[in-house]
């Protein structure tokens, strides 16, 4: 039996030490060890993107990362997106645009959108659809999600103007 390891990582700006076994994924550690249940489990094989988090500034499927691999890494999860009770533009646009129904995929879509807008603040519809192709939604048919991403991008552009 592999022993548990201590992993030290930064999550949403705070340093965390946690114990995990090599066989635990980052998704499992976030949810079951650290209680950060905003990150959702969908397919657990890297197809659906529900478990998307940022690791050292890059979006990753946390189901395909071992928890022991995040030693020394900087993570951002859906819990780190809002500032207190103040939703950020992406969260606000998804809410206002009803870009969700059951909501399981939403944290992953929001994390992926955050990465998209950091990389490309003014994406075209095609660029949005391509960047979000690793996130699946079985409810909305995607149009409202794409519209919400466009709205969030526009709001950020206006705010930064």
């Amino acid at each position: 039996m592999a022993k548990k390891r201590v992993v030290t990582t930064t999550i949403n700006g705070d340093t965390h030490d946690f114990l995990c076994k090599p066989q635990q994924t980052l998704l499992e550690a976030l949810r079951d060890v650290l209680g950060l249940t905003g990150t959702k489990e969908g397919c657990s094989n890297g197809n659906c993107g529900a478990c998307t988090v940022q690791m050292d500034g890059r979006p990753v499927d946390s189901c395909l990362v071992l928890a022991v691999e995040v030693e020394g890494a900087e993570l951002k999860t859906i819990e780190g997106v809002a500032c207190g009770n103040h939703l950020d533009e992406v969260q606000g646009a998804f809410l206002e645009g009803a870009a969700l129904q059951c909501g399981i995929c939403t944290p992953g879509f929001i994390m992926q959108t955050e990465s998209l807008l950091e990389e490309n603040p003014t994406p075209s519809e095609e660029e949005i659809r391509f960047y979000l192709s690793g996130n699946l939604c079985r409810c909305t048919g995607y149009d409202k999600i794409v519209k919400a991403v466009q709205d969030a991008a526009e709001q950020r552009q206006t705010a930064n103007a």
Binding site: A2, K21, P22, G46, G49, V60, D61, S133
Partner: protein, 298 residues
Amino acid sequence: MRDFEYEAPTTLSTAIELLAQQDGSAKPLAGGTDLIDHVRTGRLEPDLLIDVKKINELNVLELNGDGLRLGAAVPCYKIYGTPEISQQYAALTDSCRIIGGIQIQSRASVGGNLCNSGPAADSIPSLIVLGGVCVIAGPNGTREVAAEDFCTAPGKNVLEAGELLVEIKFPARAANSGSHYRRFIPRNEMDIAVVSVGASVELDENQQNFGSARIALGAVAATPLFAQAASDALAGQPVNAESIANAAAAAKEIATPITDMRGTAEYRTHLIGVLIERVINAAVSQARGEAICYKPGH
């Protein structure tokens, strides 16, 4: 998931030692996008995962006058994030942009894609046409294998027990050369190739004739194939529909596609011709510095 040990050595020699000690029950872990899923589903049953991402030799990404060195653990996004590589080794970055979605590209490495040795692996035709040479380290030293000789069967390759792919190196690109890779899928993204084609061409000085060419095919045989006769058929020929059709006919000769849910053998054979025409024309456009009518995923 299965209970296994995890090590993250910082030197190549330690990694080789660990691999050799375990007698086949250790697996190298780079991006993990295939490996972790295979362990979770029980398709692989390793006792030890050796994280190779802390080893300098596997993180090399170096472009200079001698060519390109690509460490086996370098993730896709770093490769296409380097504009000079996109420009000079376009087929390689065409591949990296369509392997999985963006999240997968944050982690998945070309070295891992090669070592998984899937017949439809998106990076392998590009490695073949760009003249990639695989540098393999093992208990008995280092050896080199041409990319087209690396895969031996679906999921199988030339790596012996205890050996590790360290890097893939590519020769410098000639003047008047261009390359391209694309696949046919019924969606726009996030799918496995029905058929894929990579090509690299070198044109003569007036850019009207092929000097030489390399064509490779994916998903039409047990391994990705270097289409030697099709490549040779273009050498010295004018750039026109006839020469490209001749190359396509030669490429179809070596394909042994299967019929499955993605397409019939006849359909796949037909697609080889369609894709070769598009891919060669795109590689020619790239060599001439013209705009290419291609969007990743389309």
